[in-house]
């Protein structure tokens, strides 16, 4: 441009506007993409080749074991024994298929398993209502999920003899049912409880603050496994002889409080990220401290910490496996006891059981992770700053 080329020879006034033009065409196509992303430099090329090599080493044996050499049907150990089949045997999925009811329900009485099925259906319904962001009447959905559903589930699973549902002691509950119940209680309790603790920790009242700090630091300072042992072994010693707390409820409470403490710190991070102007804007309109929190601060603060919340949920979901150590028959424990069944004594049965467990946990955790990414993208798209 002449006008900007140093010394002003003559004044410049634009007469003909420069129209907006499309950007220059990028070199497209898969070859260009590969060159740009995989082989742009020597390091990049080396890393790409190393990754390909690694995949080549891992994938074929994994697929051979899980799929090509796998046994899909069978009634007992003979189906999965190489000396009977006369070929190498991979995963023994027949074992999983044969034991699937045990993995899902544990020792829950067979004639009452429909109740667990109804529970799963109610859960799926509630989850769909809550997770589908454009669903109608999500306020009703929340009421259902946080009030109606827990009560109905308890009545269904534990039984109410007065309503014709015979009681099922928790010692018979097991499998995925227990894993889901334990993590669901942890997930549902820890968020509201964690929010309250986080607010308490930022309270202006010193007593409230102190109580919250002590609570949070206590639970964060103790390993979960210790909490579970305390709940199952020590707690009964402190209670009067005639008072008993259900053996599933005790670790359940422990896990809920434990995860609440972690959630509190995550939420506190979000609260601290809120600019002071948001508080002032809300207060200047006459919104009191509670309404300010509920309508202005928390919706934004929680949105900021979605990755942290989901991270904590994923950790919690996997940590529920620890309840198996204090004698609760969760999903892992059912696999542990099924894999030593002499009827299914075959070389790959144990590995298959663990592979099945890994698949189960991975699907749930990956699902949570993807869902949270989806929510983040949705929220950031709807109010781009």
């Amino acid at each position: 441009m002449t006008a900007s080329s140093g010394l002003l020879a003559q004044p410049f006034v634009r007469r003909d506007p420069v129209p907006a033009a499309p950007p220059p065409a990028l070199v497209g196509g898969p070859v260009a993409w590969i060159r740009r992303n995989l082989f742009s430099s020597l390091t990049s090329t080396a890393l790409t080749l190393a990754a390909v090599l690694l995949l080549a080493l891992i994938l074929p044996p994994l697929l051979r074991f899980l799929v090509f050499d796998a046994v899909w049907t069978g009634e007992n150990r003979d189906a999965c024994r190489p000396e009977v089949l006369g070929r190498p045997v991979g995963a023994c999925w027949a074992f999983v298929a044969n034991k699937i009811n045990y993995f899902v329900y544990g020792s829950y009485p067979i004639e009452a398993r429909w109740r667990a099925d109804v529970f799963f259906a109610l859960l799926a319904f509630g989850l769909a209502w809550m997770l589908w962001l454009d669903a109608p009447r999500r306020d009703l959905g929340a009421a259902y999920f946080f009030v109606v559903f827990p009560l109905a589930s308890y009545a269904l699973l534990a039984g109410v003899p007065a309503l014709g549902l015979p009681a099922v002691p928790t010692s018979l509950w097991g499998g995925m049912l227990v894993t889901i119940v334990v993590s669901l209680v942890g997930i549902v309790v820890s968020l509201p409880f964690g929010v309250l603790l986080a607010l308490g920790r930022r309270s202006r009242l010193p007593v409230v603050r102190l109580v919250c700090v002590i609570f949070i630091e206590f639970w964060r300072g103790v390993p979960l496994i210790t909490v579970l042992f305390m709940a199952n072994v020590m707690l009964p010693l402190f209670l009067p002889g005639d008072v008993t707390v259900d053996r599933l409820v005790r670790p359940l409470v422990g896990i809920a409080l434990f995860s609440s403490a972690y959630m509190a710190e995550i939420v506190r991070g979000g609260l601290q990220a809120m600019p002071r102007g948001q508080f002032e804007g809300a207060m200047s309109l006459g919104l009191g401290p509670w309404l300010t929190m509920r309508l202005v601060i928390l919706p934004q603060a929680l949105r900021i910490v979605i990755p942290g919340i989901v991270n904590s949920y994923i950790a919690l979901f996997k940590d529920t496996t620890l309840v198996s150590i204090v004698g609760i028959f969760d999903f892992i424990r059912t696999i542990e006891s099924a894999r030593v069944d002499p009827n299914w004594a075959a070389p790959t049965v144990s590995v298959t059981g663990y592979a099945f467990a890994a698949l189960f946990y991975f699907l749930f955790c990956f699902g949570m992770s993807r869902y949270s990414r989806f929510v983040e993208r949705r929220l950031s798209a709807s109010h781009a700053r």
Partner: protein, 269 residues
């Protein structure tokens, strides 16, 4: 709208004389009586006295750190004063939370950085307080909000989020949001300082319109053209004290205090 326009204003148009008669019979809405405030050991407000009558428009100016923002933030208790009395609309500001919320309902505030709620649409920003504080039915609150959004000339942006608007538009939404609570007094804390130069006028025009309708206004601003056009009184503060109070005409034409003269010579170049 800056001070360059100053010399061209006809002194006869200045509101100095008219405001005296207009306000003579008006009741007092804000009283500050020897108000003092400290940030730690720093004395930010020193013996500030001020009486504001209904319908009065006051512009507060002064160098940064002079306590002018702190002063108006004390009026709706975003800052707490430590000595002296503040009475707003007959209610004395104490630690009574009920009374504080009562006063905040009567006093609207517009901030330098708008402080709109980014997670709510423009319309929701405006209806939030009427619905939750005044318990107004949603439909009625939305009608009210649309009326004020129309008045600040952005009704067509109602369903957008604040982040999608320009600075000037955001500030006008903030004004509409305050007006939805039908406040008796409006506080403006440097409402145009964070705006691009091209957006200042649209916000000032909105404020002038508000003044013309008789709103009681306290504005911390350096827009001297605005002060000349609408203010009944200009207050100049320095180091936490009120240094000079005068009609805008006399204030700009014939500043009395040496500090005022220095300040004006710095900003009216």
């Amino acid at each position: 709208m800056t001070a360059q326009a100053l010399p061209e204003i006809d002194p006869d148009l200045a509101p100095a004389n008219t405001s005296v008669t207009r306000l003579a019979a008006a009741p007092t809405v804000v009283t500050l009586d020897r108000v003092n405030k400290w940030y730690g050991a720093f004395h930010v407000l020193r013996d500030v006295d001020l009486t504001v009558r209904k319908g009065e428009r006051i512009v507060i100016c002064g160098p940064s750190g002079s306590g002018k923002s702190t002063l108006i933030r004390c009026i709706n208790r975003l800052e707490e004063h430590q000595a002296g009395r503040i009475v707003v609309d007959g209610i004395e500001l104490t630690n009574d939370l009920k009374k504080i919320d009562e006063i905040r309902r009567e006093v609207g505030m517009v901030f330098q950085h708008f402080n709109l709620f980014p997670h709510l649409t423009v319309l929701e920003n405006c209806t939030l307080a009427p619905i939750w504080v005044k318990k107004m039915p949603k439909a009625q609150a939305e009608e009210l909000a649309m009326r004020y959004l129309t008045r600040v000339k952005i009704p067509h942006q109602a369903s957008k989020y604040p982040g999608q608007l320009s600075g000037g538009q955001q500030q006008r939404v903030a004004i509409a949001r305050s007006l939805c609570m039908s406040p008796k007094i409006m506080l403006f804390d440097e409402p145009t300082s964070a705006l691009d130069p091209e957006m200042v006028k649209e916000v000032l025009d909105t404020m002038v319109g508000l003044a013309d309708e008789g709103m009681t206004m306290l504005c911390v601003t350096h827009e001297m053209g605005f002060a000349r056009q609408v203010a009944d009184r200009v207050i100049f503060m320095d180091e936490g004290q009120v240094v000079e109070v005068n009609t805008p005409d006399a204030f700009f034409r014939n500043p009395q205090h040496e500090r005022t003269r220095l300040f004006l010579s710095q900003i009216l170049h």
